[in-house]
């Protein structure tokens, strides 16, 4: 069976001349249908750029991206966005501050010409654990966790197969993070979704993903399964450093 997301020798470069930056260099990986795949790395390692390149927010300079066996087209067509949706890191910045939740959720439906907006909005709010009562509020009337639920609802409202999750919980408190991660996990099983999750937190990725790719300076360091990670079977020094660092501070 071929993979649902197939990334081959992907490179992303920005700028030219002196300000030329190679954000992603020669990265390849496959994500199977229904899998949850993690990209781990520090800031500047290019992990978010890969997500942005897949959904057309960053230029693909070299290499290919196939979704469901088809190469992605530039610019991406509406059919692509019905299949692939993204949830961004910062729920304070990714939702229009002067639009109600109702308007935030109806926009994608209008763009894609769905007729049953009313039912879908109600259903999407139910799915993410926000009742009808939140529908006509503004983002500033919601907490960070509730806003991230709205962002997830907005992504799910088109019933995509693939969710690209860019640090979905790093702006949230630990206690709220647990709720959002549980929600994402439950939705994946219920709707048979495929996740590509980016995080700097090895523990979050180990909890959510079956397979993970460690990145540094825009290149792939190594690919591991969760079992291998739990057995501490990392072969690269950088991965071992990350594992040690995630155990917390140790005095000299």
């Amino acid at each position: 069976m071929s993979a649902l997301i197939e990334v081959r020798n992907l490179a992303v470069t920005f700028g030219s001349g002196r300000s030329h930056v190679q954000a992603v260099r020669n990265v390849s990986f496959d994500v199977a249908q229904g899998q949850s795949f993690g990209l781990v790395g520090e800031s500047g390692s290019g992990k978010s750029t890969i997500l942005r390149a897949i959904c057309g927010l960053a230029p693909i300079s070299a290499g290919t991206v196939h979704i469901g066996g088809q190469p992605v087209r530039s610019p991406r067509d509406p059919a692509f966005y019905r299949q692939v949706q993204m949830v961004f890191q910062d729920p304070y910045g990714s939702i229009h501050p002067r639009h109600t939740i109702d308007r935030v959720l109806s926009e994608p439906l209008a763009i894609h010409g769905f007729k049953d907006a009313e039912a879908r909005i109600e259903k999407a709010l139910q799915d993410v654990g926000l009742g009808h009562g939140f529908r006509f509020r503004y983002p500033h009337q919601l907490s960070g966790g509730q806003r991230q639920r709205v962002a997830i609802a907005r992504a799910l409202i088109l019933e995509p197969q693939i969710l690209l999750l860019d640090e979905p919980t790093s702006a949230l408190d630990a206690s709220i993070q647990a709720e959002v991660l549980n929600l994402l996990d439950a939705l994946r099983v219920e709707k048979k979704l495929t996740y590509l999750l980016v995080s700097h937190d090895l523990a979050v990725v180990a909890h959510m993903c079956d397979q993970l790719l460690i990145m540094q300076y825009g290149t792939k360091v190594e690919e591991l399964t969760r079992d291998a990670l739990q057995r501490r079977a990392a072969t690269q020094r950088y991965t071992q450093q990350l594992l040690v660092a995630s155990e917390g501070f140790k005095g000299p």
Binding site: S43, Q177, L202
Partner: protein
């Protein structure tokens, strides 16, 4: 030994349409030359506690305390002049968000030099070298470039480290670090903690480390105060954290995902208003 900082019955409240909101309630603790962690969710009053100690409660809020002394100086009656000798050279606070805490129209290097010169005994030429050395100490790869950069030209992590450099250059006696490492990568996080650790160990600095990451705090601090809705619900030695009695502390610990954790859903926090009684 007298404590560096003594806080008793600290209250902070803000007015609202429905009467005053008490964001810090009867907080009492003493700080020696040690690492004290304050942990809680957002809105639990941990940052306001830190701000109140430095006299930085916003104008709309009211701060009262039965006792608030720093090295024998009563901070409740401190004059503007006294504050000027304290804030910066002797006690300082690293704020959460470098985007809003650095001066946007001033080069980072000059801001650090300015902080250094507040100490009094510093010369201009010396300041530049010290600032560069400090930027190196917080693991900035290209300190010359950062020295000349404006805050908007730095990433979040770099800005945070520049802030830390600025606060540490004056070598204060008391440092309040408000979520300093939350925006940093794990490996850099440990570097920053190591710098703070050295300062506590070598110079006998007192450190209040505010964070929502209970596991990090427990591995770094000596003692932890757990706050819920403005009240300290538990005070516990960091090494005993896994024997925490209060359900809120246990909840905060258990809701974190673990590399070796099971696949099942994570525990979520239950909150009880009876804890405020």
């Amino acid at each position: 030994m007298t404590d560096l900082l003594q806080v008793a019955g600290l209250n902070v409240s803000f007015p609202s349409r429905d009467g005053p909101v008490r964001v810090v309630r009867d907080v009492t603790f003493n700080l020696g030359r040690e690492r004290l962690g304050i942990v809680g969710e957002s809105g639990s009053g941990k940052s306001q506690t830190g701000r109140a100690i430095l006299g930085l409660t916003p104008g709309s809020g009211t701060m009262t305390a039965d006792r608030l002394t720093f090295d024998g100086i009563d901070l409740r009656q401190a004059s503007v002049k006294t504050w000027r000798t304290l804030r910066g050279p002797r006690m300082s606070m690293i704020m959460q968000d470098p985007k809003y805490s650095l001066n946007p129209v001033m080069k980072v290097g000059l801001q650090i030099v300015e902080a250094y010169r507040r100490r009094g005994d510093a010369t201009r030429a010396d300041g530049r070298d010290r600032a560069i050395a400090m930027l190196e100490a917080v693991q900035i790869r290209d300190p010359e470039r950062v020295f000349r950069a404006y805050p908007h030209e730095l990433s979040g992590g770099m800005g945070q480290r520049a802030m830390i450099a600025m606060m540490l250059i004056a070598e204060p006696d008391l440092l309040i670090a408000d979520e300093v490492t939350s925006a940093l990568d794990v490996t850099v996080q440990l570097d920053v903690l190591r710098i703070l650790d050295d300062l506590v160990r070598d110079r006998g600095m007192g450190l209040i480390f505010i964070s929502h990451d209970l596991r990090l705090v427990s591995s770094f601090c000596d003692r932890v105060l757990v706050m819920y809705a403005g009240r300290v619900v538990e005070e516990i030695a960091a090494s005993d954290l896994h024997h925490a009695q209060h359900p809120y502390t246990q909840g905060l610990l258990n809701c974190l995902p673990q590399i070796d954790g099971a696949r099942g859903p994570l525990q979520t926090l239950t909150r009880d208003t009876a804890w405020l009684a």
